[in-house]
Amino acid sequence: MVNIKLNNVSKIFKKGKTEFKALSNINLEIPDNSFFGILGASGAGKTTTMRIIAGLEAPTMGEVLFDKTVVSKDDRTIIDPEERDIGMVFQNWALYPHMNNYENIAFPLKVKKWNQNEITKRVYELADILGIREVLAKRPGEISGGQQQRVAVARALAKNPKFLLLDEPFSNLDANARDDARALVKKVKNELGITTIIVSHDPADIFALAEKVAVISRGNLVQLGTPKDLYDYPSNERVAGTLGDINIVDFDLKEKNGYYDLIFENFIITGIKLNDYNDSKITLGIRPEDLIIEKSTEIDSNIETKYEGNTQKIGVFEADTVNYNQGSFSVVLNISGTKIKGISREPIFYGDKVNVYINKSKIKLFEYASKDAIKLNEEIERN
């Protein structure tokens, strides 16, 4: 097994006279045996990062180390991908269409000149783990997407690589197959204990699998941490968006006894403490699940008894649009043209009057100018 390290890696693509900086000064360390995620929007530079680790591209500047060995450095590939001993599952799986699935999985072993018996044993062993034994005689074109993906994983694992790279391995699968595939990858990783890096634009992949995540945005490493850290404490507005659905709204600030009120039209959050904040506006992020919505009845229920945690009632609004999605109703409020989305457990219909509550401990505050996160201190949150 191996410890992978990226030191100050930058990648510049030149096309004719134009240059494009796909990665700038990435520093990363991927510890041995970990399940590491790289998250970022499409075009952020995830695949490029992975290709640099694999050796398919050389970093324009900076170096890549496997343990103490420099494998590529400053526009030079020192150890070619074929000698890096890695397994990789490409975004489109890149199976060999002219070989059957058995031959696909066996290919890396044939290249290594394993003997026939060992190859057969290994292929069947992997096929059993991944549940693709029945399709070995077929070609990749004759099996489902989910099965192709398993074949690709099996091929990548066949030679017992030092580590495994997965580039958006689930993006070509439908939702059901995706859940199964995630579970399977997790199982394989646990059984084989191999260092694994998964790249995805879908936070669901990361939450399901990764122990540690690097978030990349426009070629920059913007945050590093556990998935939960990142979800709850995104370092800026963009990371917050990358990790999941979030309402981002600019609020006016009004001070009251050392605390601030956040005001956007009639959407007002009270009692926020801010240290050294000098702008008159602030950007707030709130995930839909932290904006609780219920049907407004004549008798207003007492929220303190109903919801745990630091929940505050914002007021009564009108539901603008409602979508049903996997057991909950997402309700959109239209506040002077700005759409704010919350979640209700019970059916709500267009035009219904609704009560809106906010989970104050989950709000994310960003500087209005820079959109960088503002640390809320614990004491205030509990207020």
Binding site: F90, P97, H98, F107, K112
Partner: protein, 289 residues
């Protein structure tokens, strides 16, 4: 769309005009097809004429058929056709395979210097080969291969290897890049990737290039003309020369010989013509695939 006020008769009228147009369209196609196929027609009917048939019927009309002329010319052309096979099959295989290797090199290395090399190869494909008459003859005779199979194959390779490289470059360009990269990740070296992944994936292009070169070299008249010095080494197209005819000769053997000498390329064309056509289109448009 049909406007509301259109009456039934109007619609019928439009339909009729359409039908008439379609009929004219087809008639034109049939007329030109007949014109284009005419040489095949005369090769067959006149090749099948007996000597007496030649004397009493004009070229354009069939007479009582006889296999005589075909048997005579087949006997005479047996050796040249065999020679042609010996000249062209290795030429086409080697040009396509080695050309594909060069194409793989260009596929992997799209750098400035290679653009230049690629340009040279592209231009070499279009050199009118007749102009190499003198140096080619001197070169082949200086290596002692004048009037030999290897000599003629080498001469053909000089012309068709660049063609193979150019065509295969066009076909390789459409290969899925990640599949080849995944072979690298699997630990395969370039030689393995070329033989186990690139060639199987590019097989349609490979066949297309092979057929293209086979037909072109089969019909190459020039190389054997200058490099063959004894009749026993004649190629099929060269051997045809003795059937050119003129006044007083019987044309049945001319047509039979033209047919027999063209038979192999024609059969290839009939069965694999779509590859040939695809190759030419790729050749001309530089389209990938």
């Amino acid at each position: 769309m049909i406007k509301n006020k259109n009456t039934n008769s109007n619609i019928n009228g439009a339909k009729n005009v359409k039908n008439v147009k379609r009929i004219i369209h087809n008639i034109i196609l049939v007329i030109f097809s007949i014109l284009w196929l005419f040489p095949i027609y005369v090769m067959v009917i006149d090749g099948l004429k007996s000597a007496s048939g030649v004397l009493i019927t004009p070229i354009l009309f069939p007479a009582k058929s006889s296999l005589g002329p075909f048997i005579t010319v087949t006997t005479a052309l047996e050796r040249p056709i065999l020679n042609s096979i010996i000249y062209t099959v290795p030429t086409a295989i080697i040009s396509t395979y080695i050309g594909a290797m060069a194409a793989f090199y260009f596929y992997k290395k799209a750098r400035m210097i290679n653009t230049l090399l690629f340009t040279i190869i592209a231009i070499a494909t279009f050199v009118p080969y007749e102009i190499t008459l003198l140096p080619l003859t001197k070169f082949i005779s200086s290596i002692g291969l004048l009037n030999t199979y290897p000599g003629i194959i080498i001469a053909m390779l000089i012309f068709y290897l660049p063609t193979g490289a150019l065509l295969m470059s066009i076909f390789l360009a459409v290969l899925p890049k990640t599949t080849l990269e995944s072979a690298r990740i699997d630990g395969a070296n370039d030689w393995t990737i070329f033989n186990k992944v690139v060639l199987p994936l590019a097989m349609p292009g490979f066949i297309s290039t092979f057929i293209f070169i086979l037909i072109e070299s089969w019909n190459n008249f020039f190389v054997p003309l200058v490099l063959v010095t004894t009749p026993g080494m004649n190629s099929a197209s060269l051997a045809l020369m003795s059937y050119t005819g003129g006044y007083g000769t019987l044309y049945n053997e001319s047509f039979a010989s033209a047919f027999i000498a063209s038979l192999i390329p024609l059969v290839i064309f009939v069965f694999l013509g779509r590859y040939f056509i695809r190759g030419f289109q790729a050749f001309g448009t530089g389209r990938k695939g």
